[in-house]
Point group: C2
Chain length 102, copies 2
Amino acid sequence: MREFQRAAVRLHILHHAAEREVHGAWMTEELASHGYQISPGTLYPTLHRLEADGLLVSEQRVVDGRMRRIYRATAAGRKALAEDRKALRELAREVLGDDEVR
Amino acid sequence: MREFQRAAVRLHILHHAAEREVHGAWMTEELASHGYQISPGTLYPTLHRLEADGLLVSEQRVVDGRMRRIYRATAAGRKALAEDRKALRELAREVLGDDEVR
DNA sequence: GGCGTAAGATCGGATGCCGATATCGGCTTC
DNA sequence: GAAGCCGATATCGGCATCCGATCTTACGCC
């Protein structure tokens, strides 16, 4: 279902950016591996929004002879991730039932 | 967080409409009780879309001297609900971890 | 320097969101 | 039986987002 796409994209970005450095092309692959096909016209504006909201910080860097913009989560980003996880857990409980979600 | 709003609204509507008859005002209360504030300008177009997609059927009825449009899930609606639940479970596993979601 | 390439950025039409406002149907009151 | 009320539903308009297609950038290579 595509309704989860938006939430899934945001969660995955924050999730990974909280643990390591991520960049757009890698996120595209990562999301695709979970079945979320996202076009660059969606991903890049999303990254920019998260940065504008102070949840990510970016930096340009040359890796393997390629210019990349790498992102990391800020403290606010990790906080937002925790809140998003909480919201997801609650939604899962509501719809899947307490017996499926601890 | 508001990223889940859209998915949550759709899931709750299908979930309840699969088990009983629902109407707009009741869904507004139900969603609000779960912390999802939805404006009529979002809810009613959403109901219309679900009906146009064949997931709900509606019928006008007078209840307690009030005209209401009541909705029930179709077979396709129940199928969509099952798929949405599956997508939610998978997203929860990815982001919350297998140990939290059965 | 010019080229190829991969990553990122942007554009534009379509869709969705949502607060505010309008409408609708049945009821009540006179 | 006309007027007006009220709750429920419908619509409107402005703004944000989506996303495929396309353009730009920056580097290495020759």
